[in-house]
């Protein structure tokens, strides 16, 4: 089954995944209309800043076993076996924050949502865009990411690609192994930012 895979080394920190996610979970599914809705839709993926101010797209891993699911006393959190997705039932959620305390990745937030009863604050997190998937679309964050920091693919294929990359670097010898052509441009920027951060700080 295809899954969203995060490649943090490719994230350029543009944050386009965030409005795309919020729009996908809005009533109108349209960016310009979505910002006028009440409640204003919020993203379920968040881009953080690393040690060198590089971006990191943080989203629910849909862990198995899932600590949030185990911590949910009212039984609002459940696993959809078909999509292998951990979901939250907004009607059952009592906004107790046990799931957020249990989550090692801090991806569960609390706010009003157009899918929850009006006026009720509930736990909200990534649902793997199951509604989009039912329509044959890929998750919104992946669709909008132009640098392939988020991909939607069979985990086996992604692992094989990574294995092949490592294998080739071994056969070439590390010194000869080269980054793909484009990487140099990003590496130059990140290298510079690292230097900037080290300059003169006490």
């Amino acid at each position: 089954m295809k899954k969203v895979i995060v490649h943090p080394e490719r994230c350029v920190g543009c944050m386009q995944c965030m409005p795309a996610c919020a729009t996908a979970h809005s009533r109108s599914r349209n960016l310009f209309a979505a910002i006028l809705e009440s409640p204003v839709p919020k993203p379920r993926i968040h881009v953080g800043a690393g040690l060198y101010q590089e971006g990191f797209p943080n989203r629910c891993r849909h862990c198995d076993p899932a600590p949030c699911l185990l911590a949910c006393l009212p039984g609002a959190i459940f696993r959809d076996e078909e999509l292998d997705t951990v979901l939250i039932d907004p009607d059952k959620c009592i906004n107790c924050a046990s799931c957020a305390m249990a989550c090692p990745f801090g991806v569960i937030r609390y706010h009003e949502d157009c899918h929850a009863p009006p006026g009720k604050v509930v736990a909200v997190k990534c649902d793997n865009c199951f509604e989009r998937q039912e329509q044959g679309l890929i998750p919104a964050c992946v669709e909008v990411c132009k640098v392939n920091a988020l991909t939607f693919e069979e985990p086996g294929e992604a692992l094989k690609r990574k294995t092949d990359e490592v294998a080739r670097s071994v056969s070439l010898g590390v010194s000869q192994a080269e980054l793909p052509a484009g990487f140099a441009r990003f590496a130059l920027l990140i290298g510079h930012k690292r230097k900037e951060l080290h300059v003169g700080r006490p």
Partner: protein, 626 residues
């Protein structure tokens, strides 16, 4: 002291006021910077394009996603177009500042600008003669009228080349002519740059960047140069004067007025009002011991250079100055004025006033200054500031000011040398002074405030390299004590001897950022005296903490004029290795100088010293191995 404060700025007043700001729950530029992290990689690499509405477009720097915008522009074209537009905006800003001064001169000539007058008639005649205007039998106002007209023509498109290009060495002008980048009209080059970067016009990244150099030259040898020369004519050519810098220049027992921005047209009138007898009496009647005018940013530099007015801080300090609670009024004109200032001032009793017809800010009252009403308006504002003195709450002025000497125009420097650059050339030839470096530009929260400026200046003067500086860089080194009368002690033995003999500091304040052209004029004078080109001189430029579009234009006109220039922060160009290589290597063969990017001022100092020794070798002068 919280590490965060010390990590944000090396200045003691900055650190203490950051603490105060946090206590007062005032958000500063550093907080907003943190909130922006991570910053968008496409934009930082110059790979996002918002020029037309088929887009916005972005290019995958890793080479797998889209490699072309909707129009078909690749990374090279998009990066070049974005950089070119930055330069156009920077050149437009400086040049528009110049235009404002022409308008004042014109109205002075026509007797419509009460309060303003011609303070340096000798310079008026000198500049007029460069424009082919004879002074024989004419009064100053007639000359001024004709000069204003001639300068306005430099902005238009009727000429083949700008008038003041003649100040550049002959060899340099040949380089420009050969490349076809001698600027024709100040407005024309900016307009053409915007035209070329429109979708479907110039899509060759090399020719785009050449036009960007021409556009930058139209600023350096046009708009900015006119701004500086006219400011000197109208407000006086700067002469060395002692002054004081940092937040400690605010006075607890006096009415404190701060001027902020770039244009002396407003601040000079405010200065006059602050010194008028009746307003001083009014201040006394409110219990104030006087009226204390101080500056921040380049408006501050303009007043400091000409009148020794004290300087409260540079770019990143502008919000913090207000958190002292001691500022009764801040009067702003334009450029580099953070839109957050009105919000900060609202936490205190400070009144905020904007004055330019082209610059408005949230939370500020707008009181428009024009040449005909400026003197009157300035008096009204100073009066209101005095009345606001009694509304003060608690005041926190945490440091004592540092003494400094400013006001080193080219005229002053050459005057101190006996009228010719020969003594400086002799010192350069013998190696007593290894070379000279212009440190310019802004503060940027990406770099610890003032660390880049101060560290670089320190390393250079220690190694007998004379430093001239402008803008926020100049304020940074002043705060660090490099412009005090005894600062020569900080210099290496050669430079120390010369500075002590002449009674000057080893770091010379040459003015505001528009005044970077003074450095071009000085470099031309040296090159002309040696019969060589600017690119052969043992000199360099540096902008260790730049942030603004104007700084990109300045950097580009330095390089296009033959000055090797080291930048601290990386411009948004890394998305195209072709553009990066052209700027850092290729330009050497084109204009005889390149950009270099190095955020670490220690390494930048080494690179600059190596460059200077190499140029010395090229001129057949004794050179060291660095």
């Amino acid at each position: 002291m919280n590490d965060t404060y010390a990590g944000r700025t090396i200045t003691r007043d900055g650190q203490l006021l950051l603490e105060k700001a946090e206590k007062d729950r005032v958000e500063t530029v550093w907080d907003r910077f943190e909130n922006q992290l991570p910053q968008c990689g496409y934009c930082e690499m110059g790979l996002s394009c918002r020029i037309c509405v088929m887009g916005p477009c972005r290019i995958d720097p890793f080479g797998e996603g889209p490699q072309k915008g909707v129009c078909g522009a690749d990374a090279d074209i998009i990066v070049a177009r974005n950089l070119c537009r930055m330069i156009a905006a920077g050149a437009a800003s400086h040049s528009d500042h110049g235009r404002d001064l022409i308008e004042v001169l014109d109205e002075v000539a026509k007797g419509k600008a009460a309060g303003y007058r011609i303070r340096d008639a000798e310079k008026l005649k000198r500049v007029a003669s460069e424009y082919g205007i004879s002074s024989d039998g004419k009064d100053d106002l007639k000359i001024a009228e004709q000069l204003a007209y001639a300068m306005q023509e430099d902005f238009g498109t009727r000429k083949k080349a700008l008038t003041l290009l003649r100040r550049a060495p002959a060899k340099r002008r040949q380089v420009w002519d050969k490349l076809g980048i001698a600027p024709r009209g100040i407005d024309r080059e900016t307009a053409e740059m915007m035209h070329r970067t429109h979708m479907g016009v110039d899509n060759n990244w090399q020719s785009l960047l050449l036009q960007a150099l021409r556009n930058a030259l139209s600023d350096g040898w046009g708009g900015s140069m006119i701004a500086t020369e006219l400011s000197d004519i109208l407000f006086g050519t700067p002469k060395p004067a002692t002054t004081a810098v940092n937040v400690g220049v605010l006075k607890k027992d006096q009415v404190n007025i701060i001027v902020h921005g770039h244009n002396p047209v407003v601040s000079e009138m405010v200065l006059l009002a602050c010194r008028s007898e009746d307003l001083l009496q009014l201040a006394a009647s409110k219990g104030a011991a006087g009226i204390n005018l101080a500056g921040v940013c380049c408006t501050g530099n303009e007043l400091l250079m000409r009148s020794g007015v004290a300087m409260a801080g540079n770019h990143l300090t502008t919000e913090l100055v207000l958190t002292t609670g001691a500022v009764d009024m801040m009067i702003v004109d334009y450029q580099c004025i953070m839109p957050s200032l009105g919000t900060v001032a609202a936490c205190y009793h400070t009144r905020m006033v904007s004055t330019s017809d082209k610059a408005r800010f949230p939370g500020m009252e707008h009181r428009e200054f024009h040449p005909d009403n400026a003197a009157e308006e300035a008096r009204a504002l100073v009066k209101e500031a005095i009345e606001n003195f009694t509304n003060r709450g608690e005041v926190y002025i945490p440091v004592e000011p540092v003494n400094a000497v400013g006001g080193f125009s080219v005229e002053t420097i050459l005057g101190a040398l006996g009228g010719t650059p020969q003594p400086l050339i002799d010192a350069l030839k013998s190696g007593t002074i290894r070379g000279a470096v212009g440190i310019v530009g802004c503060n940027n929260p990406r770099i610890r405030q003032d660390f880049g400026h101060v560290t670089l200046a320190k390393r250079l003067i220690e190694n007998d390299i004379l430093v001239v500086d402008t803008g926020c860089a100049a304020v940074a080194t002043a705060k660090a004590g490099f412009k005090a009368s005894d600062a020569a002690q900080m210099a290496g033995p050669g430079l120390r001897g010369i500075c002590s003999a002449l009674g000057i500091p080893p770091v010379l304040h040459m003015g505001s950022c528009v005044d970077n052209v003074r450095i071009l004029v000085l470099a031309s004078a040296l090159a002309n005296a040696l019969g060589t080109d600017i690119s052969d001189l043992p000199i360099a430029g540096a902008a260790p903490e730049w942030y603004s579009e104007k700084a990109v234009a300045i950097g580009a006109y330095f390089v296009a004029s033959g000055v090797y220039t080291v930048l601290g922060p990386m411009p948004p160009v890394t998305g195209s290795m072709n553009v990066v290589k052209l700027l850092t290597e290729g330009l050497q063969d084109v204009v005889g100088a390149t950009f270099s990017v190095e955020p670490d001022p220690e390494k930048a100092a080494l690179a600059i010293r190596r460059h200077i020794e190499e140029k010395r070798r090229g001129l057949g002068l004794p050179a060291q191995k660095v």
